[in-house]
């Protein structure tokens, strides 16, 4: 694979969690335990030497049972978690759609949140100003945009979150189970928007339990099992094995 064609390069990721027997969170307790040599913990390897690459403008699906390490992997790619060892390189700007509306401040209005969220993705006020109108239109929030987000329904929040993340034309989009928000009309709109982004060359890392969606959207798929890559390849081949 040519180096310039790679959008996400995951190389040899290991993630080890320490499971403390009891959580120590006061200074007194910490010292008492240090003196007694009782800072014991068990180690749990959530990811064991994961490596794969995502090509530019490819949609890579990630599937696996609960506890396979999908969420941990996404958090590492998104930069929220730092892996115990190994490295992830993302080329270009990245917008995470891990939890829609995660970056919202409930006290602020929808409009103010557009700017706050934009700045979280590294965009200036001027840049967001140009896109404000299309974001509001896509989210269908016209008369509610100046209402504090705490008064929004969960569907409204999700719509605004999706709208912001996809209106700013990211190079890489990380999607975790979010296309199932809102009514079927909005879901359809989301899928159209995803398709638009793909045609525009956006790379997507797509995590889902819905095999139907993975089949529809993804060209290649990774199958994780107990923190290891069980299989990687064409979506149809992987899904066939996975179903059995």
């Amino acid at each position: 694979m040519n180096k310039e064609d790679i959008a996400i390069d995951v190389s040899d990721i290991v993630m080890t969690y320490r499971l403390y027997q009891e959580k120590v969170d006061s200074i007194k307790e910490y010292f008492v335990r240090m003196l007694k040599q009782k800072l014991q913990y068990k180690e749990y390897e959530a990811l064991k030497h994961i490596s794969f690459q995502v090509k530019k403008s490819e949609i890579l699906g990630v599937i696996g049972l609960n506890g396979a390490g999908k969420s941990t992997l996404l958090k590492i790619v998104a930069g929220i978690l730092k892996p115990t060892s190994g490295q992830v390189t993302v080329h270009g700007s990245m917008a995470p759609l891990i939890e829609l509306g995660a970056g919202f401040d409930e006290q602020l209005t929808g409009r103010e949140n557009i700017y706050l969220n934009g700045s979280l993705l590294g965009h200036s006020n001027k840049y967001m100003k140009e896109r404000e109108e299309s974001i509001i239109r896509f989210a269908e929030l016209n008369e509610f945009i100046d209402v504090p987000v705490k008064n929004y329904s969960s569907g409204m929040k999700a719509r605004l979150g999706f709208s912001i993340a996809t209106c700013v034309n990211p190079d890489v989009l990380i999607v975790d189970e979010v296309l199932s928000v809102g009514d079927f009309k909005f879901q359809q709109k989301c899928q159209e928007r995803m398709q638009e982004l793909l045609n525009g060359g956006t790379t997507v890392l797509f995590v889902s339990h819905s095999l139907g969606e993975v089949e529809k959207l993804c060209t290649r798929t990774v199958w994780l099992e107990k923190g290891e890559v069980k299989m990687i390849g064409n979506t149809s081949d992987v899904l066939e094995k996975f179903r059995n």
Binding site: Y17, R18, D25, S26, I27, K28, Y30, A78, G79, I80, L81, K82, P96, I98, E99, A102, G103, D105, Q107, L108, E112, Y115, L116, G118, S119, L120, G122, H123, S124, N125
Partner: protein, 258 residues
């Protein structure tokens, strides 16, 4: 190093939004709004000078300004570091879900306090105008001690916020510490009432140097000695570097504790 700077530049808009947001919330739904930023130092100084002026008026000429200069500097420090300490815990929801350089949270609190300080400086200037104090060109240097203290506060804020994630007790402990620290700094009393045997405590107190540098520029109309300037710069840079290193080391595990 270059990637750190690039990353900071990318997220500078977020820093601005954070400060803006906090400033807006502070006065939301209060009748007088931003006016409180002016009223607060004015009322505070009125109360304090009524209480203490009979005690110290004979020792210090222009006691009100002496008190105000010290109080403004120390309040900036205590307010910014206390808020910075709580900033990581306070933004836990965001940190758990989205990547953003975490050091921005404590730093944004120091900026917020800086804005308050600037409002309070307006009050200080007004009092200087009315009290016929002497003016000299050196007063234009007043941003320097504020800048030094700003850097110092960023360093202390980074250290506190990183440890407060692991040890929640720090929140309670620091409140007591900062009160003690205030009384160990010559803010309401003149420095010469300290007996020689306790002088060492004052000499080891970094806040003493920032406050006295600010006073020599604003009150005495001097530039402050080169020695004090270098000492302040040294303490500030050292503290900030230590703060950044501690924070960088600690931040990887934040998410497991938030």
């Amino acid at each position: 190093m270059r990637s750190y700077i690039q990353n900071f530049l990318k997220y500078r808009h977020f820093l601005k939004e954070l400060v803006k947001k906090d400033f807006k919330f502070k006065y939301r739904r209060s009748r007088l709004g931003v006016l409180w930023s002016l009223l607060n130092p004015l009322l505070m100084i009125t109360v304090l000078s009524i209480v203490f002026s009979t005690l110290f008026n004979r020792h210090i000429p222009n006691y009100i300004l002496y008190l105000l200069t010290g109080k403004l500097m120390f309040d900036f420090f205590s307010e910014s570091t206390s808020a910075a300490m709580r900033s990581i815990n306070g933004n836990a929801a965001l940190i758990r879900k989205i990547y953003v350089p975490r050091y921005l949270f404590p730093i944004s609190k120091v900026f917020l306090s800086l804005i308050n300080l600037l409002f309070a400086l307006i009050i200080m200037l007004a009092i200087m105008l009315f009290s016929n104090s002497e003016w000299s060109w050196s007063i234009l240097l007043f941003p320097l001690p504020i800048l030094y203290l700003f850097i110092f506060a960023v360093g202390v804020g980074l250290i506190l916020s990183a440890y407060a994630v692991y040890f929640k007790d720090l929140n309670h402990l620091y409140g007591v510490m900062i009160t003690a620290w205030m009384y160990l700094t010559p803010i309401i009393y003149p420095i010469d009432i300290i007996p020689d045997k306790f002088r060492l405590i004052i000499d080891c107190n970094p806040m003493y140097y920032y406050v006295s540098l600010f006073r020599s520029i604003v009150l005495d109309g001097t530039m402050g000695s080169w020695g004090t300037h270098f000492l302040c710069i040294g303490i500030s840079l050292l503290t900030m570097i230590v703060g950044l290193l501690v924070f960088r080391k600690k931040q990887n595990n934040f998410i497991l504790y938030l």
